[in-house]
Symmetry: C2
């Protein structure tokens, strides 16, 4: 089901700047029994991302209502929210005032992602390197061609995610997920000040780590540190946590920190119910 500016619909104006320039942001999140999980975190991130582009973020209560509506058809749902700067005349200059467009869509969440949480995944090492753009780093905006090109590098159904490096060879994340490694019992996740998307589940992992008294640091992670890590896992709001069990020739067993963090995330989700 889909709501466009609150109305059931399936199309947007062809003059929308989301299409013309990718001039907007988005969120993908999970809902259970019609209730979006970690809603306020997602809304906060959406509004921070809107602010980064100078787009007026739709009202929280309004979006929450729409998210619940589209999720209600499925006991376990994925909600996607897109907010664009709206329509405008030709030209890059943002119209003043602009009237943002919001698309809220819901679909059943695939149960296959949970099997991967149990089995662990193989990671493709992407050839595409992320560009450094501090003005957009961290923001989940609609300019995602790097992710599209990276994801198009493999079709093997047995490989669930790709590892993206930046132009200096540091690991930044998966094509659709954030990355963590375990080094001598310490969690580390890449610094995202020059590229990458900082997701809500990344923040949750950092907070849960604190509660678990597990040190967690943000750092530059050259590929070799990932290869040498004791454990590697990726997270996002829809998949939860996937342990990485293979990257090129490197193999990992499913490790204790990944398992503990996966359980902590699930317990944290369950506490919302």
């Amino acid at each position: 089901m889909m709501l466009i500016n609150g109305v059931p619909a399936e199309s947007i104006p062809a003059t929308d700047r989301g299409l013309a320039y990718g001039d907007g942001v988005f969120r993908t999140l999970r809902a259970r029994q019609g209730e979006p999980l970690h809603w306020l975190r997602h809304y906060m991130k959406l509004s921070v991302d809107c602010a980064a582009l100078g787009i007026t973020c739709p009202d929280q209560a309004l979006l929450a209502r729409e998210a619940r509506t589209v999720a209600s058809a499925h006991p376990d749902a994925v909600i996607k929210i897109i907010v664009t700067r709206g329509s405008g005349a030709r030209g890059y200059a943002p119209p003043t005032p602009s009237v943002p467009l919001r698309v809220v869509m819901g679909a059943a969440r695939s149960q296959s992602v949970d099997a991967l949480a149990a089995s662990g995944i193989a990671l493709h090492l992407c050839r595409l390197r992320l560009a450094h753009q501090p003005a957009l780093a961290g923001v989940k905006h609609l300019n995602r061609l790097e992710n599209v090109l990276a994801r198009a590098e493999w079709r093997d159904a047995g490989t669930a995610e790709g590892l993206l490096l930046d132009q200096s060879g540091c690991a930044i994340g998966g094509t659709m997920s954030n990355l963590f490694i375990v080094e001598q019992g310490t969690l580390r996740t890449p610094l995202l000040s020059l590229c990458g998307v900082s997701g809500v589940t990344r923040e949750r992992v950092r907070e849960l780590a604190e509660k678990m008294r597990l040190p967690c640091q943000v750092d530059d992670l050259p590929l070799q540190r990932v290869m040498d890590a004791e454990e590697v896992f990726v997270v996002n709001s829809v998949i939860g946590l996937w342990p990485v069990v293979r990257l090129q020739e490197r193999r990992w067993p499913r490790g204790p920190v990944s398992t503990a963090m996966h359980q902590a995330l699930e317990a944290d989700d369950a506490a919302l119910a």
Copy 2:
């Protein structure tokens, strides 16, 4: 007027990947008396850009027909063509097969751009620096947030264009145009292998320079070389050529090379009629 997949319409599916990821390319060109100028050059560039993203480019004759249709309402028109990878399920992986979407729209060309060709323009020096992404450099794709953010830096109506530098401080182009400078009688235009968009009019200027026996070289152009240049101008398919008469404290008179090249472009356009 607007045609979407050949049919008069004003909206596109909200599931289109052009909206979701900026997964597509575009062209903006001029038409006179319903006839798109330099059509085959534009089509060639569109198809090269589609190929860079692995998108099947719509048929040439079909697009030409649609371009003529939308342009026909205006003696002097701007045509915009967007080609996206089409709709797909959630997720970055390009659907196979994909069914590209095409949007062809026409509008009256503003005559005010010709006044600026005569008067020359002020150039804003953008604070935003373009990221280096060789996988996308040169391609006129729909990921244009850098241009949007740069164009949002100024609102002064007297400033017609902004100068974009890359992250190493080299001039790359305008927010919507390609850049040329004149140094000791030689034309120079920035190397676009790491960022920027290589436009059709940039190619035409290079070819016309050859006919005019005017040396023209592609080079790295640190900002200081622009400041020290004898002449500076920007070009695109809709504006033609705008001489730059001001950039920060620097002033230029309208120079002889800019004037000659402007005349050559106009003569070349007229020869099409």
